[in-house]
Amino acid sequence: MEKSQTAVNTFVKETGAWIAAQLEACTRCGMCAEACHFYQGTGNPEYAPVWKIELLRRAYEQRFTLSGKFKLALGLEKAVTDADLTHWSEIDYYACTMCNKCSMVCPMGINLGSMIHDVRTGLSNAQAVPADLHAAVEKQENEGSPLGVTDAVFKQRIEWVADEWEIELPVDVKGADTLVVFSSIEVMKFPSNLAAIAKIMNAAGEKWTISTKGREVVNFGFYEGNEELTVLFASRVFDAAKELGVKRVMVTECGHAYDALRWSAANFMQVPAGIEVTHIAGVLGEFVKSGRIKLKPGAYDNDGAITFHDACKIQRRGSHIQEPRDILNILAPKSFKEMTPNKEEAICCGGGGGVIAIKDADPIRYAAFELKIDQIKKANAKTVAMVCSNCRLQFTDSVQHFNLDVKVAGLSQMVADALVEK
């Protein structure tokens, strides 16, 4: 079968009434473009969110609607070809972080983000995924992590972190309340985050554990839109949680994993009953509010303005908008300053959705980040705090690329460093 046929079949299969109704509601007004950081950053009209779902629309109309069939017969519109897949593979994987800001601008409220995910699923089934992204997916399938954190590496990293920061990291503790699952970005690039989160959990007196089986929270299958592997990677986490008998799974500073496990999993797999999925941002808020941890007020007030970057999957798509702000208002009541726009309307970092894993997407990733630079400059911020390691990776890399005098900080790290010993 031709690749394009595989993709079209996937689109047709995915198109339930909820997708069809949204495709039909689109007036092709183009407003969504103005919400997209990739369009704004580059000016390339092909990065308009509506254009990213063009193949899905064509497949739907040509299969299900009279006007679509009519246009196809008259030659006004073409069927989806293999060349189209190659072309849209770049548009949908390079230039979308699935941040879903476009849906907030759409006068019809069309949820473009989740439809772009459906397009990716079609492209994934047709094997039209950028090579480096797919390589990372395969790596996660075979080694358990897209960044090469094998069982041995994980064990060694955990031991090293425990040693280096003199911190206790409980491993495979049955009957713990909370299973903490880190992302390999933290394990490999921000290991101090492991120590920071451990310190916070210990200080709060939480009965927690990490798992050697469910040790990777990121889900590169979800980025790719590969349904089978998305389920496999999520199962590794849920199976570990079941085996350890925990009450909840806590996603650490990772955005898309939270979207996958908390907000999507129940729709694509059997999720174990009675296990809650939560995010470190929510847990930090809960600990501070209930007094389980105490923070040194004003701990960061003498280091220039601090701003907070809202991650698309944790804030706009995950609702942990207030907790980080409450915490920053304790840590830096005088120097905490908002960027504009912020909260659910925030501008995305430009590196999520697997974009940062694609080398050829670097130029547009940096172009999108220039919007962030503008925001940071306007807020006159010296430090940018965030609760997503993927954002943090994009920030760290881009700050270096543009040679900016800006400190990039994970909120957990800031909290851990400002804990008041009880």
Partner: protein, 225 residues
Amino acid sequence: MNWENILEFARGPFFQVALLVFVAGMAYRLVRVLALGWKPDRVKAKGSRVGGVAVSFLKGIIIWPFVPWVKNTFSRNPVIYLAGGLFHLGLFVVIFLGTAHMLVWKSLLGIGWFTLPLPIVDWLAAGAIVAMIALFINRLVNPVLKLLTGPAEWLNWLIVFLPMVTGYIMTHHLWLEYDTLFALHMLAVDVLLIWIPMSRISHFMFYFFAKAIHGSDFGKRAVTP
């Protein structure tokens, strides 16, 4: 055949056929979409899905597009917000709150309602026509719209524009005989009614679905839509 006959035809049998095509066509479109089946969202909600839907509609109907709360995007493309908003406002007022149209509704539905004074309706009609011209130019020059616009989009524009402009000229008794303009207006309306179910002008029906899906998804996540 003179204009009087054409008018009789356009407001008589042709109008009835057009109405029938409109209603049947829209019903077909709706059934066609719903027949694809609805998958329930099994994810445990954090906020209220219903609340999200309510906020989504409230924002859509009351706030947008007159108060552009989405920062950044308004200033980047004000034409589409202002012209798009003015066009829809003018259209709704003329169709539902203009006396002449209300009387058509009354003859169809059997009930009438309050209408606005002619000058207000007239100015809004003029505003809507100007807005449509602005939207036309915008489609010609905006790079994204250039990419998205094909024959269907231009045809949609034209078929919506004709009833508006003939209606306006007719109300002001300009250039042609009243009956001629009335006939042209009715013909344009008939064509529009037939064309709506075949085109994206039907978005007003699917709007309610898309807005509800949007609100429900945001409500589930406890985020303001």
